[in-house]
């Protein structure tokens, strides 16, 4: 019995020690594996733990402001509390939204938009639930955070415009980016980011955007933020200072009234745009909240085209305002001289066609100065014929018409001052009659009001100034604000002077076509009228004598135009006015030009420096 017991005991002891040894080895093996994981591969896992723990979030920079030349704000940013939803951080999106709508009511339209975003969005990109929360609602959401998984509140900014209606065409507006806007800027991933869509907002979008900041947050496994680790503030967008004078803009807008009209005022020494009005305008803030069907219809059906910036995109035959270009082309080509006198019998016959002067009785023999002063058509028919269309076209382009300008808002239309080649490229021969009508700015020629103002400025200064808005970026003066920044026009000064004196006579001499543009006070305005036909007047109408464009339907009446600069003795400002279907430039556009120029001069900082007496003087 004892032997058996000892026998069993020895076997047990042997085997128990064996098993115990094996167990020790196994646990020791685990310890060895721990060495591998914790020491050998520790660095790699430490990085992974850090990646788990830390999440980087972008801080949206504030979009830069847009200021006018006196620093008055045109566009800025408002604080905007927003509720966002990160779908991957919640199990039940519906539930979170239902709980949220108990705090902040959501309309059906908002729910529909959120549903749409939910279907298209990625689960880790926040979806905008509601903007412009009150501080109260924001606090309630934060307090109820445990019931609102996936919902987070953040503070963003929204764009605000001080003069939404008045500056719509110039400033443009901002809108959420679409796929075409995805230019690799990490900012694009930020919820609620808006990019410039038109005008200055679009042109200076990159400068206005700024650089995003980064905040590193410690988060737990479900993404809840535990604490902020560090923060690198973003760089806010640059402020853009425009050459623009918003007070002048508003004043001009008022003068133009309800007419479909536009006016551009330039500092003619450097091309800075002081005002650019296109009436009527529209309210672009409606785009942000959604434009109603009725509103959209109203805008698109309105024949005064409120959505189009007429100053850069409206094209008009320049009519008689084009005559300075023809004159300069003729002088430059030596086709005429200053004192050549050409006869006007009231019409010009070319083959079987007869081209009339506006004055049926004719002007008799006149020189360039008189031809401009009386705006004689026949004189310029002849100059055009002598000079040829291609030289006229080249001069017009040099003066800024029918060509691309370096304007710093998008959307300019180039217009057209044709050449023979252009006509031939369309498959037609260039007719001499086409040259004749080109002499008075009709025919194929179309230009924009901005080009007309540039044209006036270039004649006034003899410099190839380019119209532009940008004056300062982030406070720093941009090139182009000094006359020396602009190249010489390369038109001999005596020729320019001849044309200028003609423009002076138009307004200031007895018998000129635009006495209504004469300025009260010490300064003189030089200008030129234009009335551009939009429909050919038939011989029958002309002969019956009953023709009066005032009796035409609105859309067939001629456009009224005026280009001008002042003061004549020391040119400072150039302008163009176009009143669509306004009939006669001398009657409708000229007084507007006078009023605008009076206001421009009154607001001139130089006249302010001279003291209030001077201002009062100018005003009277």
């Amino acid at each position: 019995m004892i032997r058996r017991d000892v026998n069993r005991g020895t076997v047990f002891t042997r085997r128990a020690l064996l098993v115990g040894g094996a167990q020790t080895l196994l646990l020791g093996g685990l310890a060895a594996r721990l060495w591998q994981v914790q020491v050998d591969e520790g660095g790699r896992y430490a990085t992974m733990a850090e990646d788990n723990r830390v999440t980087a979030r972008m801080i949206a920079p504030q979009r830069g402001r847009i200021l006018d030349r006196f620093g008055s704000q045109l566009a800025g940013s408002l604080i905007n509390w927003r509720a966002l939803l990160v779908t991957e951080q919640t199990v039940n999106v519906r539930q979170s939204l239902d709980n949220l709508s108990a705090i902040v009511p959501l309309t059906d339209a908002e729910r529909a938009r959120i549903d749409r975003d939910l279907r298209h969005g990625k689960s880790f990109i926040p979806i905008l639930i509601k903007e412009f929360l009150s501080r109260d609602a924001m606090t309630k959401i934060e307090v109820n955070a445990p019931d609102l998984p996936g919902i987070l509140v953040d503070v963003g900014t929204s764009r605000t415009y001080n003069y939404p209606y008045e500056l719509a065409h110039i400033l443009g507006y901002v809108a959420p980016p679409n796929e075409n806007d995805m230019d690799g800027d990490p900012l694009m991933a930020l919820p609620g980011l808006k990019v410039g869509r038109a005008g200055v907002e679009k042109y200076h979008d990159l400068a206005l955007r700024g650089r995003p900041g980064v905040v590193h947050l410690e988060v737990n496994a479900v993404g809840r933020v535990i604490r902020e680790l560090d923060r690198t503030d973003g760089i806010n967008g640059d402020d853009i200072g425009l050459s623009f004078d918003v007070g002048l803009q508003l004043a001009i807008q008022k003068m133009l009234g309800d007419d479909a009209a536009s006016a551009v005022v330039l500092d003619c020494r450097n091309g800075e745009i002081m005002a650019m009005v296109s009436n009527p305008s529209f309210d672009p803030t409606l785009f942000a909240t959604g434009v109603s069907q009725a509103q959209w219809k109203e805008w698109t059906k309105d024949r005064r085209t409120p959505l189009i910036n007429k100053a850069t995109s409206g094209l008009y035959a320049p009519g008689s305002t084009f005559k300075m270009a023809v004159a300069l082309a003729g002088l430059d080509a030596k086709a005429i001289s200053f004192h050549d006198r050409l006869n006007c019998p009231g019409h010009l016959d070319l083959g079987t066609s007869r081209f009339h002067c506006w004055n049926k009785a004719g002007h008799g023999a006149l020189d360039l100065h008189q031809a401009l002063k009386y705006s004689c058509d026949v004189y310029f028919y002849q100059v055009a014929l002598r000079t040829g269309i291609d030289r006229i076209s080249a001069m017009a382009h040099r003066l800024g018409m029918g060509t691309e300008l370096d304007i710093d808002i998008p959307g300019q239309r180039l217009g057209l001052v044709p050449t023979k080649e252009w006509r031939q490229s369309k498959g037609h021969p260039w007719e001499l009659g086409d040259t004749v009508v080109s002499g008075i700015g009709q025919g194929y020629i179309v230009v924009s009001p901005l080009q007309l103002a540039t044209y006036a400025a270039r004649i006034a200064t003899g410099r190839a100034v380019q119209p532009h808005f940008t004056r300062r970026i982030a406070g720093a003066m941009q090139p182009g604000s000094q006359p020396e920044d602009w190249p010489d026009l390369a038109v001999p000064e005596p020729m320019l002077q001849a044309v200028r004196s003609g423009m002076f006579a138009v307004v200031n001499d007895a018998g000129g076509t635009a006495p209504r543009a004469r300025l009260a006070g010490p300064f003189h305005l030089a200008g030129k009228t234009g009335s551009s036909q939009v429909r050919r007047v038939s011989r029958k109408q002309r002969e019956s004598g009953t023709f009066d464009s005032k009796n035409l339907p609105w859309e067939f009446r001629p456009h009224a135009l005026f280009v001008a600069y002042a003061p004549y003795e020391q040119p400072r400002y150039a302008l163009s006015v176009v009143v669509e279907h306004g009939n006669a430039g001398g009657i409708v556009a000229a007084p507007l030009a006078r009023d605008i120029m009076t206001e421009v001069l009154r607001r001139d900082p130089a006249s302010r420096q001279d003291g209030p007496a001077q201002v009062a003087d100018v005003k009277s």
Binding site: F12, L26, L34, V37, V39, E50
Partner: protein, 380 residues
């Protein structure tokens, strides 16, 4: 001989018994429970609530039970071996009928608010039953295959029932537990080789009949990165936590993986990861060393015991403890598939703690009664 009998007589005396309890072993258990307290304090985010206080109260209660059981004569315990086994099987059947479902398996019985996992009690019952069976067996009888048939069935019944819950991990542990007791009892080497040879084929067959979630566990174990946000998430996060702990750890309460909830079930199954993250390799190896010491402490009780029943019971309890530890640590390190096995005396969880303390109580009873004369149950 007479002296020894006198001494034995005196061993029935209560004070004597208490002196014979291995207090060094108890001290090791206290150390382990203290590690548990510290880890659970951290798991609760630096608070004794809700885990750490309850843990230590339970341990104190367990300690009391342990000492009480230690004083019960091992021969009385031996008499109830098969009763314990039958009770375990009954509970396993009960859990299949009315058990609580957790993670796709029926594992829990609700006894007046206290949830118990019958498979844990079952293992203890099995140890006692096998020890009782082999206590009767001479070296010669163990060589007889027919003699081995009843204990084999006794092992396979609970294994089958646990598999049915289904709880693959515990079933495997139960099977291995039975195996090592067979081995320690003196079953011949070649029989083990004969049984182990077809294992690869059986494993293959079994894999095809596993539950989807079990198969997913094995699949993600083999390649955790294949499903980093799904089933592989736990393993990956656990390895990240351990690895980022480095040699010295991130410091008490400084573990980011644990405190930021990247670590799943950090107060139960993944408590060891938490320790490894905050106390590094040094802390983790210290805990492993403690576990090795306790395993050897339990084995020593068996080695010093004079009767086969006590030897096998102590050995079984030592192995049971070892399996818990090894499977748990291996699983959080991604060495074996995740299996819902707690780390004894460290993981939060009442039922496992009490079962473990009861088993240590029986172990101490073996220690106290290592020299008692057993009625000869083997009459050959």
């Amino acid at each position: 001989m007479i002296e020894q009998r006198l001494w034995l007589k005196s061993s029935h005396d209560l004070t004597g018994k208490i002196f014979r309890v291995n207090w060094l072993f108890v001290l090791l258990l206290c150390a382990l429970a203290t590690v548990g307290y510290v880890a659970l304090y951290s798991a609760a985010g630096g608070s004794p609530e809700p885990y750490a206080t309850r843990h230590i109260v339970r341990f104190a209660f367990g300690l009391l039970i342990m000492v009480c059981i230690a004083l019960v004569d091992i021969r009385i315990i031996a008499r109830f071996s098969w009763v314990a086994y039958a009770g375990g099987v009954a509970l396993l059947i009960l859990v299949l009928k009315i058990g609580h479902v957790g993670k796709g398996a029926q594992r829990w019985l609700d006894l007046g608010g206290q949830q118990i996992q019958p498979s844990e009690l079952m293992k203890l019952g099995l140890i006692l039953a096998l020890a009782a069976w082999f206590h009767r067996a001479s070296w010669e009888r163990i060589g007889n295959p027919l003699f081995l048939l009843p204990p084999l069935i006794a092992v396979l019944i609970p294994v089958g029932l646990i598999l049915k819950e289904p709880n693959l991990g515990t079933a495997m542990i139960t099977l291995m537990l039975g195996g090592v007791i067979f081995f320690a009892a003196g079953v011949r080497w070649w029989k083990f080789i004969l049984v182990l040879l077809p294992v690869p084929f059986v494993a293959r067959y079994a894999y095809q009949h596993l539950h989807d979630y079990q198969r997913a566990r094995i699949d993600t174990f083999l390649n955790p990165e294949s499903d980093p946000l799904g089933a592989g998430y736990n393993i990956i996060q656990s390895k990240i936590a351990l690895g980022s702990g480095g040699t010295w750890g991130k410091g008490f309460l400084q573990g980011t993986q644990g405190h930021l909830d990247f670590l799943p079930e950090k107060q139960t199954d993944f408590i060891f990861t938490m320790i490894g993250e905050e106390f590094g390799l040094v802390g983790a190896v210290a805990v492993i060393t403690l576990l090795i010491l306790i395993t050897w402490g339990a084995l020593l009780v068996g080695l010093r015991c004079k009767h086969q029943y006590g030897r096998l019971v102590a050995f079984g309890i030592a192995c049971n403890f070892f399996f818990y530890c090894f499977v748990n640590i291996a699983m959080v390190m991604g060495v074996i598939p995740v299996g819902g096995v707690p780390l004894p005396l460290i993981s939060h969880g009442g039922s496992a703690m009490i079962t473990m303390m009861v088993s240590f109580g029986i172990l101490m009873s073996v220690q106290v009664h290592r020299d008692v004369e057993f009625a000869n149950t083997d009459n050959d």
